[in-house]
Amino acid sequence: MVVNCEEVWREVSNYVDGEVGPDLRVAMDQHFSTCKRCTSVLAGMQNVVQLYGDESMVSVPLGYSHRLHRRLEEDMHPSRRTFFGWMVAAAATVLVAGGFEAARSSGRLPHLRSPHAQLASAVPPEMMVVIYPNGKTFHVAGCTYIPSQAHLQSVKASEAEREGYTPCVRCLKKYLTQSTFSSDTPLRTV
């Protein structure tokens, strides 16, 4: 039996797997001994099989088995959660709920000082404003609604916002936006 290159290419994968009959194997061996190109195809295919078949081709993430078992455990025994597990779950729920609430109210203000504050979306961050100790709002200097002129501090609007101050609804009215504070949004409590 004599085989040509095309026949070798058709059977080379079966040859690698030991899936060819004895006659064909002998014929292919003879062909490989004389044909450089087919030998290169065979060697390359053997390399492919060897490389991809190697376990180290995929590295399993650290802790994979542990996490898998934990998830199975939860599925097998949902009631067997430990007290600590429940506390972690409860804390996570609070955090997630808080996160949603914060995201709904404002992406920027982590902690508003007033439960009645309105959020500003367009106060220029570099604008200089004034705040006073223990106050809740920031004002344009000279605003008549500043309760006390003592101990006033000048800061940038962005800094005041970061500290939880909200803009005065009078002197900074033009910067207030209703879009971030719709009537169906509950007021935040501090």
Binding site: W9, S13, R37, A43, V48, Y52, M57, V58, L72, M76
Partner: protein
């Protein structure tokens, strides 16, 4: 049929496994950990080969194992547990891939007539290479990229056969295709991968510069 028997006989003994499964079905659920332990890595590898993302692969692997646990009563004992489990993992990963990339059409290669001969395009001399090459992350990435570029029908056969080491019959059964199709697709997948990788391994990926001292490692 003779072929199937030979191939299954060369697999690890599954007697203990069958006993384990029976006990799990009868209520000893804790034994499930023991049953899956030898396959945990393979489940992850199967999911990773399809999803190519650690977090997604781990998630899919967990889901697959949970499904195997929930549906262990549906497992037919004439099948092999590992094949069944890997099949669940493959399905889970494929489902996620479809959800993540619904816009992706099947690669063109999938629509080609698979009965036509594939002619090797590259005859670069790809000499024997040591497996230590795989210690290099970039090599593993190249291999993963090459695999990902194959059409899905070829990739799935190759993953099951050459990475998961399932037999031809097991691969056929997992993918619900004939053994002849497995062989044809496997031939193509291997030839295509060889074409994709041989030029790189023969030269650019292992140029003198990348090894610094001027000598190839083999």
């Amino acid at each position: 049929m003779q072929e199937a028997a030979t191939s299954l006989a060369s697999s690890p003994p599954t007697q203990n496994e069958a006993a384990l499964i029976e006990r799990i079905r009868k209520g000893e659920r804790e034994l499930f950990y023991e049953l899956i332990r030898p396959y945990e890595r393979r489940v992850y590898a199967a999911a990773f080969a399809i999803l190519r993302n650690e977090a997604d692969a781990e998630d899919a692997a967990q889901e697959a194992v949970l499904k195997a646990f929930r549906y262990i009563k549906q497992f037919r004992s004439e099948a092999k547990f590992s094949t069944w489990l890997i099949q669940i993992a493959i399905n889970e990963a494929r489902m996620r891939r479809r959800k993540q990339h619904p816009e992706l059409m099947e690669p063109i290669a999938d629509r080609q007539d698979e009965s036509g001969d594939y002619v090797p395009r590259d005859f670069a001399d790809w000499r024997e290479i040591p497996s230590e090459t795989l210690e290099r992350k970039e090599v593993r990435e190249r291999l993963a990229e090459a695999l990902a570029s194959l059409g899905q029908i070829y990739r799935d056969v190759f993953i099951l056969r050459d990475m998961q080491h399932l037999s031809i019959e097991e691969t056929a059964s997992a993918l619900k295709i004939s053994t002849a199709s497995v062989k044809t697709r496997l031939l193509r997948a291997r030839l295509m991968l060889r074409d994709l990788l041989a030029p790189g391994f023969g030269g650019p990926w292992f140029s003198q510069a990348s090894f610094g001292k001027g000598a190839k490692p083999w």
